[in-house]
Each structure stands twice: as structure tokens, then as C-alpha cells.
């Protein structure tokens, strides 16, 4: 990974929920304009790690975080960056599509409003974000329709549009397809591959095929530790560790 430009990284990260340690000495780097998949069995800390990068843990009490989280070398937790600034620069798409109970238009407009983007520019940004997320053709006739009336796959693409509308540098995706049918899933995967040229993407997935289809790099986690990280083909075809091999071949999970 060394020869590429590192966009996002964690070094010696530890995290506790109360007394329970969930991340153990995690160091990881995500290269710019690449898709990195985080894989590993449930409860291994993938989502927890993901949420460290956009400071989602700030919202819950009882969380202790150690170590460094860096966006292009800038510490996400110390210094001049506020949590809201971090979240604007690092967007997130959640496991359950979670559009606001508002219209399609308002769903994207909300983030623009929050970030003081002038009214005149919003219309164009919204249209562009919807086109970029390949949902424009399906919704352009009625942007005032409640977002909750879209199908699950459409809702998830709307959530991606909501994230890209803010031109983040990184998009974190927490199992974005786990609640979707195969057709919606393939649409989202196609979209993720197209977004790669503009964004750095980190995707948590339980789906081995999905990781192989979309990810350039793959990171395998187990019990809060990173076991192995490398090119996706290497992780799946010639894993260096026995544990990785057993997991990617479906012997446990």
C-alpha cells in the first residue's frame, strides 16, 4: 500500500465501550481514490472502527478512544477540526437506508442548508448529486414525494446522494447492501465503483463476493484486531494467515 497516497489512516487505535475493549491496537491506512473493504465476523469491530473516522462515537457516553485517526495527516480528534467539520468531509452511508421523513428534495437540501450553501446553488447541487447517484431518472418527475415511499434500493441511493452532495473526501459505508435485494445491490455496487474516481471509499461488508467485486484493498478483522490487510486478490487468493483463509473460504463467520 505504501506507494499510494494515503487518504485516511488510524494508528495504534484502541477503543472501549465501558470496560469492554472493542478495538485493539488497530493501525490501518486507506489509499486515496480506492475502495477498501472491511471484512470479518459479526462483532469484530468493523463498524466501530468505521464510526471512529467520522466521530460518531462522540454521541454516546461511555466510549473511550485512544490512538490517532488521520485525514491526510490531519488529526481528526485534536486540533482545529470540529466534529461537524469532520463529518462534512467524511460522509457516511448506513446499514439501514435512513432517509429523513421529508421529501426527496429536502433530504438532500437538508445537508446543504446545514452547511450554509447558498440557496441559488442548491438546486444544481441536488440535481447533480441525484444524477451522480443514478437515481435522478427515477425521481426527477416528483422531487416532492416523501422519501419513505421509495423502494429500499432507491432509498439507499438517495442516502448516497445525500452524502455526495456535500462533496466529502471520504465516504464510509456500513454494510450498505445488507438489507437490499440482488438487483438493488448490483445497482449500488455499480454506483460505488463509479464514485471511486472522486472519492475514497471504505465499505464494511459481510458479503465476500461483494468485497471481491468492488474492493481494491481488503482488511480482515477478527476480535477487534486487524489480522491481515492487502490487495483484495491477495487476501482472497493467497491469504498469509490461516485465520484469514478460513474466514474468506467460509469456514467460520
Amino acid at each position: 500500500m505504501n506507494e499510494e497516497q494515503i487518504k485516511l489512516a488510524a494508528t495504534a487505535a484502541n477503543l472501549w465501550f465501558g470496560r469492554k475493549q472493542v478495538l485493539k491496537n488497530v493501525s490501518v491506512a486507506f489509499p486515496k481514490n480506492k475502495i477498501t473493504a472491511l471484512i470479518g465476523p459479526s462483532g469484530c469491530g468493523k463498524s466501530t472502527l468505521l464510526r471512529c473516522f467520522n466521530r460518531m462515537h462522540d454521541l454516546s457516553n461511555d466510549v473511550t478512544i485512544e490512538g490517532k485517526f488521520l485525514l491526510e495527516g490531519e488529526d481528526l480528534y485534536k486540533g482545529s477540526l470540529s466534529a461537524t467539520e469532520v463529518r462534512r468531509r467524511i460522509g457516511m452511508v448506513f446499514q439501514q437506508a435512513n432517509p429523513f421523513p421529508k421529501s426527496i428534495y429536502e433530504n438532500i437540501n437538508y445537508g446543504l442548508k446545514i452547511n450554509d450553501i447558498p440557496k441559488e446553488e442548491r438546486q444544481e447541487i441536488i440535481e447533480h448529486a441525484l444524477k451522480e447517484s443514478y437515481i435522478w431518472d427515477e425521481v426527477k418527475d416528483d422531487l416532492q414525494k416523501p422519501a419513505t415511499r421509495l423502494s429500499g434500493g432507491q432509498q439507499q441511493r438517495l442516502c448516497i446522494a445525500r452524502a455526495v452532495a456535500l462533496r466529502p473526501e471520504v465516504i464510509l459505508m456500513d454494510e450498505p447492501c445488507s438489507a437490499l435485494d440482488p438487483i438493488s445491490t448490483s445497482k449500488i455496487e455499480e454506483l460505488i465503483l463509479k464514485l471511486k474516481k472522486d472519492y475514497t471509499i471504505v465499505i464494511v461488508t459481510h458479503n465476500m463476493q461483494q468485497a471481491q467485486r468492488v474492493a481494491d484493498q481488503t482488511v480482515f478483522m477478527y476480535l477487534g484486531e486487524i489480522i491481515e490487510a492487502g490487495d483484495t486478490s491477495q487476501i482472497f487468493d493467497e491469504p498469509g494467515m490461516e485465520l484469514t483463509k478460513n474466514y474468506v473460504q467460509g469456514h467460520f463467520g
Partner: protein, 296 residues
């Protein structure tokens, strides 16, 4: 043998429970019929239109006047005043409890608010006479502070626990995923609360407000003690008023049995009943709507 005894106790229990259930319905029906009967008796003597729109309540005058509009306006004035204070305060407190307060503070504040609900209304009325009344009098320069504002403040205090508790439940019922979505685009707590959480909880908050209104309209002792009880047409918050509930409580003890005046008080009670019923139905409607929304 044993089986037969068990069968018998089961039958007896069923009979007892059915009777208690029926008794509640019978009592409710009895109250309603009594109210209706006496109200009809009143309307045989005084036209309903004059009763509702008349601007003078003077049952012992000659001729007697049974215009309940001043009472209706007094109740409305005090209730609106109370809600004007209690709604912002209640929603603010509930928001603080659900989104800002730490565990420790919450564990103190929550029981304190619930305890506020258990203060007897006569004690709150007492507070109005000895603390709030002189306070208002001191600020406005009036001889006493027993007026609509005094009653409104006290009623606001009394309806706060209901409004806070129901609003807090509504706010905490908003799915966490909405809040996370809002935070993930860079919103702070305040923006999330105002633009996402409160709109999503709106039906529940509306229900809270309706329940608070119901509490304020029906309250008797506090307003009786704090508002001065002048049965003139209310001129504003700094004037003494007499609500419908206070009128019934004051006059019922002295009125001769089955006179027009006696029937008139029942008619006032019937109007009051209709008002609280309406408010409760609207409130229930929103509570149910909120539940459905929660389930989906």
C-alpha cells in the same frame, strides 16, 4: 371434587370482575345522564343561545342573568396563558432531558418532575396567594395579584409534568437512525433537534400539549384560589377573572335545590365536559397516530 371447586371460583371471579366493570360504566353513564337531565331542565327556562353568548353572569340579580361568556372567556384566557408558558418550557425541558442531559442529571431531574405532579392543587393555589400574588402586585402596582396571570402561571406549573413526560417519550421515540443521518451530514445537536427530531416527534408533542390543555381547563382549586373570582367580562391578564370551574365550586354550595340557578351550574358543567372531552379526543387521536407511526 377439587376440579368442581376450581370451576366455581373461576365463575365467581368472572362474575365479580364483570360487575366491577359494569359498575364503572354505570357510574359514568349516571354522571352523564345527571348532567344532561339538569342541563335540559335549564334550557327549558333559558335559551341556549342567550346562555352561551350572554355577557353577564348574575344569577342573583333581578332579573337574573345567565350569560356564561365571561366564564368561558376566563377559562380560555387562563388556559391559553398557561399553555403560553408551559409549552415552550415543557418542550425545552423535554428536549434537554432527551438530548442533552447526562445520566446523573437525568436521574435527579426526572423524579423531581414526576414529584411536581403529585403536589396537591390546593398547595399550589396557596403558593399563588402568598408568593405569586404579592409578587405580581409588587411589579404591577395593583392592590393584589390575584388575577388571570397568577392562575395561568400556576396552571402552567401543574401541567408541566404531563407535557414534559409525554414530550420526552415522543422525542426519545424518534428512531436513532434519523439523528445519525443528520449528524452524518455535519449537523450539530441543536440543528438535529430543531430540524429533525422535533418535527419527527410532532404528533407526540401535540398529544402532550392537548393533555396539558385538558389538565388546565378542568383544574378548579388552584384557579379558585389565585384568580380573584370577579365574574365580570375579563379585560386581560392583569385583571381578576372567574373560570367555569371556580364558578361551579363557589356557587354550588349556596344555591337552592332545583332552581334555575342550580340548573344553570349544571349547564356550565356540561359545556366544560364537552370542552375537555373534545380536547381529550384530539389528544388521544394524536397519541394513537404517533403510536402507529412508531410501529411502522
Amino acid at each position: 371434587m377439587k376440579l368442581a371447586i376450581r370451576e366455581k371460583t373461576d365463575k365467581a371471579a368472572r362474575l365479580i370482575f364483570r360487575m366491577t366493570g359494569l359498575m364503572v360504566i354505570a357510574i359514568l353513564a349516571g354522571i352523564f345522564l345527571m348532567l344532561l337531565w339538569n342541563t335540559v331542565a335549564f334550557f327549558l327556562k333559558v335559551r341556549a343561545f342567550d346562555f352561551i353568548t350572554g355577557s353577564q353572569w348574575d344569577p342573583s340579580g333581578n332579573p337574573a342573568n345567565y350569560g356564561m361568556l365571561p366564564l368561558l372567556m376566563s377559562t380560555t384566557l387562563v388556559t391559553f396563558g398557561a399553555m403560553g408558558i408551559a409549552i415552550p418550557l415543557g418542550i425545552g425541558t423535554a428536549s434537554f432531558l432527551s438530548d442533552y442531559a447526562g445520566k446523573k442529571l437525568k436521574s435527579v431531574l426526572k423524579p423531581a418532575i414526576e414529584m411536581l405532579a403529585s403536589v396537591p392543587s390546593v398547595a399550589i393555589g396557596f403558593l399563588g396567594i402568598v408568593v405569586l400574588g404579592p409578587g405580581i402586585a409588587g411589579i404591577t402596582g395593583q392592590s393584589n395579584g390575584l388575577n388571570a396571570l397568577n392562575g395561568a402561571v400556576l396552571l402552567a406549573i401543574m401541567s408541566l409534568p404531563t407535557i414534559i413526560t409525554v414530550t420526552q417519550d415522543a422525542l426519545e421515540g424518534v428512531p436513532n437512525t434519523y439523528k445519525e443521518a443528520s449528524y452524518s451530514v455535519g449537523a450539530n445537536r441543536w440543528q438535529t433537534l430543531i430540524q429533525v427530531t422535533i418535527p419527527a416527534a410532532a404528533p407526540g408533542i401535540l398529544a402532550a400539549v392537548m393533555l396539558g390543555v385538558g389538565r388546565a381547563i378542568g383544574e378548579t382549586m388552584t384557579v379558585l384560589m389565585a384568580t380573584g373570582n370577579t365574574s365580570a367580562f375579563p379585560k386581560g391578564f392583569f385583571h381578576s377573572v372567574r373560570t367555569m370551574t371556580a364558578t361551579i365550586a363557589i356557587e354550588m354550595g349556596e344555591v337552592p335545590y332545583q332552581t334555575t340557578h342550580y340548573y344553570a351550574l349544571f349547564a356550565v358543567a356540561a359545556v366544560l365536559f364537552l370542552m375537555t372531552l373534545l380536547v381529550n379526543i384530539v389528544g388521544e387521536h394524536f397519541v394513537n397516530k404517533y403510536r402507529k407511526y412508531q410501529a411502522s
